[in-house]
């Protein structure tokens, strides 16, 4: 065996190893996105469960705000359906609506001092607020991993592996400002 044979063999080993490593990394990235989505999904389910309790405690005091409570229930149901169907556009739409209605509910709750001193309501409000923060952080993380995935599959030379193995770009979980502003909290400012 000559030294040239070794150089050719080593180059071949490195190229094959590089392709395998790159392919494995693309698989890891895809799974990382799926894991990060699952981590958001857990929090969304927890928040839905807390929301049910919150609505129950509000119904007792906010008898004149049935319309707002109804909207929250509808948005929550839409969110459950969207997460079950794993449809990102539907999740984004339901999340935007839910966030807006919840803010409206908390704004309206300021009109009910009895409700504001209710221990369960305070606990639930705080718990939901914590979950919201966590969902927001994990959404950021999910979007970052989606961004990494989308960048990786478009880069050279990974793009050839991605195209031949059908690695597709994934969608960001982005709640648009316009969607958020559809919701008005004007109702909270009753004279």
């Amino acid at each position: 065996m000559s030294i040239y044979f070794f150089v050719i063999l080593a180059t071949l080993v490195f190229v094959v190893g590089y392709v395998i490593t790159l392919y494995n990394e693309l698989v890891s990235l895809k799974n990382q996105v799926a894991k990060n989505w699952a981590n958001i999904d857990i929090l969304l389910k927890q928040r839905n469960s807390e929301l049910t309790k919150l609505i129950e405690s509000c119904q007792e005091y906010m008898k004149y705000e049935q319309a707002t409570l109804e909207k929250i229930i509808q948005a929550r149901n839409a969110m459950v359906t969207a997460t079950d169907n794993k449809s990102m556009p539907a999740v984004i739409q339901a999340e935007s609506a839910l966030q807006g209605h919840m803010k409206q509910l908390f704004a309206l709750a300021e009109n009910y001092p009895d409700l504001k001193t209710h221990e369960t309501f305070n606990l639930l409000q705080r718990r939901i607020s914590e979950l919201e923060s966590s969902i927001s952080d994990r959404r950021e993380l999910y979007n970052e991993s989606v961004n990494f995935n989308n960048t990786a599959i478009q880069q050279f030379p990974a793009v050839f592996i991605a195209n031949s193995c059908h690695f597709m770009p994934l969608e960001l979980f982005k709640v648009t400002e316009e969607e958020k502003q559809d919701v008005s909290i004007k109702a909270g400012f009753k004279p």
Partner: protein, 377 residues
């Protein structure tokens, strides 16, 4: 401040590899030493074959390190940074400030600097002439836990088994081998080259320095009992908000930041925050100590680390951290090729040796391998 828990540096596979490379190269040069040619001539062929096997193993080892470190590079490059507050259980990457655990104020043993982690070596110059060498007389690294803190929460880091990229790495020379008498003096290049008989090396992770940490994240304990909300504060905040809402124009002046003539949901959150802050300032509640209020501990460690994922703590920027693994990959590519080429060139080396030997030793034909005549002619 003190240096509490120290242990001898761990012998990693990487260190074993480098020791093996050094031994193999030193033996190779000794083997080629012309003065001993007469003695080794009898076993030259066998020895060349042994060297071929050794260098093939070293080449293969370097090749495995290439893929190992390239995998680490890719993992760190494509792992998003989590917030500690919402970090999921499992492999995560965190970014924050390195801090001491309460009561664990650490000081580096040589430079005497406040730090969260250190590794040090004290070497002594021994022997004469060709045998002059640096011998390690003292070495160790910290095993003390420390905290990484971001703007949302904090997490305890167990550095055991971590690949640490320090914030400060310093090597200097001195005249004392006694740990308590070692001082750090700014030395000129020549003073450092010619300086004392002792060489000190120390790497530290400075306290309050920004760090990146990647490893297995676990939350121990429960959040259930943590900080129950203050009912009186909620009531007072509610009353204040009601008061503010009565003067809608004033609210708009203060909080309508986008000037669209209404309070949007995000602006309303700011209104609530402002009201809560005002009530807190009006009726302050004594703050509980962190240790009392927290019955939850976040821990970042090596435990349960899946294969192919690094446990790294780096006191450098994110790009410097990932590049560190990229440079290591390049280094091992070079060594893989170098070891392979040495192994493959041993045959021609062997022939050169025999050629030279034929001209100076008459008994050569009796000791050479069976096919020697054909090869060199």
């Amino acid at each position: 401040m003190n240096h509490l828990s120290t242990r001898k540096p761990v012998l990693t596979l990487e260190r074993i590899y480098w020791i093996s490379v050094c031994i193999a190269v030193v033996f190779l040069f000794k083997f080629d030493d012309k003065s001993s040619r007469q003695d080794v001539l009898q076993h030259y062929n066998t020895t060349v074959n042994i060297f071929k096997v050794v260098f093939a193993i070293l080449c293969l080892g370097a090749g495995l390190f290439v893929f190992h470190f390239y995998k680490y590079y890719l993992v760190l490059r494509y792992t998003p940074v989590s917030k500690i507050r919402s970090a999921a259980q499992g492999y995560v990457e965190l970014h924050g400030t390195a801090k001491w655990l309460e009561g664990h104020n650490l000081q580096s043993p040589l430079m005497k600097l406040p730090c969260t982690w250190y590794r040090f070596t004290v070497e002594e110059l021994r022997g004469f002439g060709k045998n002059r060498h640096w011998a390690i007389i003292e070495a160790g690294e910290s095993t003390e836990h420390f905290i990484i803190s971001d703007d949302t929460d904090q997490c305890v880091v167990d550095p055991d088994g971590a690949d640490i990229i320090p914030t400060i790495e310093n090597t200097w020379k001195g005249t004392s081998g006694n740990m308590t008498h070692i001082t750090v003096e700014k030395q000129s290049f020549w003073a450092n080259m010619l300086g004392g008989n002792y060489r000190y090396t120390e790497s530290i992770l400075e306290e309050n320095h920004t760090i990146y940490a990647a490893g297995m994240f676990r939350t121990l304990g429960s959040r259930e009992q943590e900080n129950p909300p203050n009912a009186n504060h909620s009531l007072e905040t509610g009353m204040l908000l009601k008061e503010w809402k009565a003067d809608y124009q004033n609210l708009l002046n203060k909080f309508d930041t986008n000037h669209n003539g209404k309070i949007d949901p995000d602006e309303w959150q700011e209104v609530i925050k402002a009201a809560e802050l005002e009530i807190q300032q009006k009726y302050p509640v004594p703050e509980k100590k962190a240790a009392e209020s927290l019955n939850v501990v976040n821990l970042l460690s090596q435990a349960g680390l899946p294969p192919g994922r690094p446990f790294t703590v780096a006191g450098v920027s994110h790009s410097a951290m990932i590049n560190c693994y990229l440079y290591k990959t390049a280094l091992y590519v070079f060594f893989c090729l170098a070891m392979g080429m040495i192994g493959f060139s041993l045959d021609s080396w062997y022939l050169d040796f025999l050629k030279n030997t034929r001209s100076s030793h008459a008994q050569f034909n009796n000791t050479s391998p069976h096919n020697f005549q054909i090869k060199i002619n």
